[in-house]
């Protein structure tokens, strides 16, 4: 079933509304949004995760753009909503991948979903537990600095470039680069503590 996108219950307006609520910080809106895009994102995740570099062939950002069009319809192509949608998809991917890693760890068989790597954190994904650990580390980072968490989510889970990330989060590229540098160091300390 190629077109298994659950558009049923939510009308077009709902997606926009939920996206706005979520980006305004209402976390439960995420739970309502997730089912709308779950299947397609799961597919992107599995196809995506089989290739190990973000710069080859499959472009999740493009796939997400297409998904947005199909979910929300061209008539809602408000750029801002679209950007929110990317941020949402990155968070959803994080959720899906972590969930998958948890299922695998508990002995259920499944494809090994490797993290997409950005060139900034190439070592990420070398260990089986990285997916899981990254999620926990990001939750801790979120408490310290939620902006950096968002940046990491976009870059690691969706393979966005620094430019795309800057546009989506409405930041300058310099800020994204600086944030990324610190966040990477922070993550490295969390996931690869002083060996």
């Amino acid at each position: 079933m190629d077109q298994s996108i659950e558009t049923g219950p939510a009308a077009d307006g709902d997606i926009t509304r939920l996206l706005r609520q979520w980006s305004d910080g209402r976390d439960d809106a995420f739970r309502e949004l997730l089912p709308l895009a779950y299947n397609r994102l799961r597919r992107i995740a599995t196809t995506r995760m089989r290739c190990e570099r973000p710069d080859h062939t499959l472009q999740p950002t493009a796939l997400v753009g297409e998904l947005y069009l199909r979910l929300a319809g061209a008539k809602l192509g408000n750029w801002e909503d679209r950007e929110h949608f990317y941020a949402f998809c990155a968070r959803a991917m994080r959720w899906i991948l972590t969930d998958h890693a948890r299922a695998r760890a508990s002995g259920k068989r499944g494809v090994e979903l490797l993290l997409p790597l950005t060139e900034d954190i190439r070592w990420l994904g070398e260990r089986a537990e990285d997916t899981f650990d990254l999620d926990r580390a990001l939750s801790r980072l979120e408490e310290v600095d939620s902006r950096k968490t968002r940046i990491i989510e976009l870059r690691v889970y969706l393979g966005c470039t620094a430019d795309e990330t800057a546009r989506i989060l409405n930041l300058s590229k310099a800020t994204v680069d600086r944030d990324m540098r610190l966040a990477c160091a922070w993550l490295c300390r969390e996931l690869r503590p002083g060996e």
């Binding site: 570099r53 068989r109 494809v111 954190i121 310290v144 540098r181 610190l182 990477c184 690869r192």
Partner: protein, 722 residues
Amino acid sequence: MDPLWQRVEELFHSALERPEDERESWLASQTGFDPAVRDEVRSLLAADRRNGELGARAAAIDPAIGPPPSSRRFGVWETGELLGRGGMGEVYLARRADGQHAQRAALKVMARSLLSADSMDRFRRERDILAQLELPNVARLLDGGVGDTGEPYLVMEYVDGERLDHYCERHRLPLEARLRLFLTLCAAVEGAHRNLILHRDIKPANVLVTGDGTLKLVDFGAARRMDTGSLETIAPMTPSFASPEQLRGEPVTTLSDVYGLGMTLYQLVSGTLPFGHGSKSAYETVQQAVAGSTVAPSAAPGLDEARRRGLRGDLDNIVLKAIAPEPARRYASVEKLAEDVERHLHRQPVHARAGNWAYRAERFVARHRLPVALCTLLVLTVAAAGVGLAVQSRQARLEAERSRRLADFLTHVMGLGFDRDSGPFRSEGASARVIDVIRYAADRLPIEMAGQPEMEARMRANIGHVLEELGDTAAADANLRRGLALVDARRNPALAAELTGYLARKSFLEGGDESAARGFREALRLADAAHGAMPAVAEGVLVLNASTMASSPAEAAAFLERELRLGRQVGEASPLYAAALFDQGDQTFDRGQAEEGLREMRRALSMMDAIQPLPLEDCELRYVLARKEMRHGNLREARRLVEQSMPGLERALLPGEAHLMWARITGLDLLIREGRFQEAVAPLDAFIAELSRLRPKDRQLLAYALLLRGQALCQGRPGCAK
């Protein structure tokens, strides 16, 4: 944000601006900062350095980002002689350029022209899969990555061997030795299956035998893990060896590998293939594979009598069971297949029995649930209902009145057309005349409905659907598409759903299962978007038609529930409800409760009779029931029903219309089951000729007819599969 964290950030970035070896002392000098902040920054700077180091290490061991080598170098590998070319690319002999090992390897490079996202993905998958696989008779994966020119490559254990079939022929291996080699191959495939890996392209060319007689399975180019879900089903494959489900693009399972093994065994023991060789087109190959009109290996051309004798019986049966067109008829696993070969070698009775033609025909047909057609009356009811909803303005009411009159007119005309005895068209090809009238109406629509695009679309839907049901596909298509172009799917999703549903049904009746399924999904989506604005009867027809794409009993049951609900909504004495009840019986039957299912269907048919719709529905239900009675062995009842339905169908429908053809083939199938083989041959030939002329896309029906024909020819002669 925590102010301390802000200071950490500030200090971290300032430190980074200093040369690396000065950072520590610089940091120590920043006494204006809290020592805790400085400690944190120190720790983060160390982590930053570590991040860089780990990154560099990861890059170094990853051939994808290795330093650019010169000429034909891939990572640490240097290519030599070209070993072969395949669908996925080229295979070279290769060795390590760094001299670490003298090891020889086979390096497979994907052709650049094939660098689609899909094939790239497949290539990577092959690497990931093989990396996990360590089996004695499977070529090992040594390395893999993406070369500096962007071509992905795989490095595999080099097998200095010969294709399995060539090896057998060159050594003139006796049958028993061939079977032993085959058993080794089975063990290799079974091992892969135990690791949840399918090969999907098993054929003699992918099995190599080395000088010392060791067998190696190579080229998992089409391999896929079993647990990755149905991400894609189309894979590179070799048509002659690919299973029917692969050819149809359906999900592939271990049973597809059983099929590949069966075909390999066929070639090993008979030196040829049952079909797909010579000058035949890929299309013909597919037809034959799907139809399963397979020549037993012992009947293959060019065998000497001794070999024929060796194959006749058990081996014939084993091979035919392994390559049965329906997966369910094959060996349930590679192990079972191997077991039977083993039993044959030990002269024990094998589990495979001669393919039972009747059973196969039954299974074949069981898969094919033809929708209960409810064309004319329902369509016209829909027309009235749809118009009723659209009435708003005075002007619209006038238009509605006009279209209702048109609907009445059509009802009248069609009623006369179908009336068996008293219609004005009785003596001169009634259906053609009905069609003429409808075509005339369609031509007049732009004039009658000028300035009322929605009304015109409404009528196009009805007319298109009726044309389709009568078998005029081209005109139906034109009308439905014109209608769809006129309607704004967002403003009137109900009508768009209806039109889309009729188009999907058209695809379905033409034999285009995939496009039909796509269309039905879209129509159901639109119906949902209509939020109840779709008349129950129109939605009912849509759901009834769409239910044919159900791929599981659970899905079919869900459709049925919806059909029944909508049917009741329309009325317990409505044709829709009767049709839903009929469908219920159909499903009960398919669940294995044949008697109960037949009872339900008979009840629904008499209900339909009592409602007295136009005769066409009646005839269609009759032959569908006939098929079920036939499958249950009630040949006499089946014959009676077919004979009752044929005249009505022939009168109403154009030659080549799906229901008409299915009713006809039901009659021919009955001949076979009644043992009247001789009688069946000529009509079957005529049927097949007509089919390829009138319904060139209908592979399913053609396969069915070919199956019957094979049976008719075989049953008369000894030596054929019983």
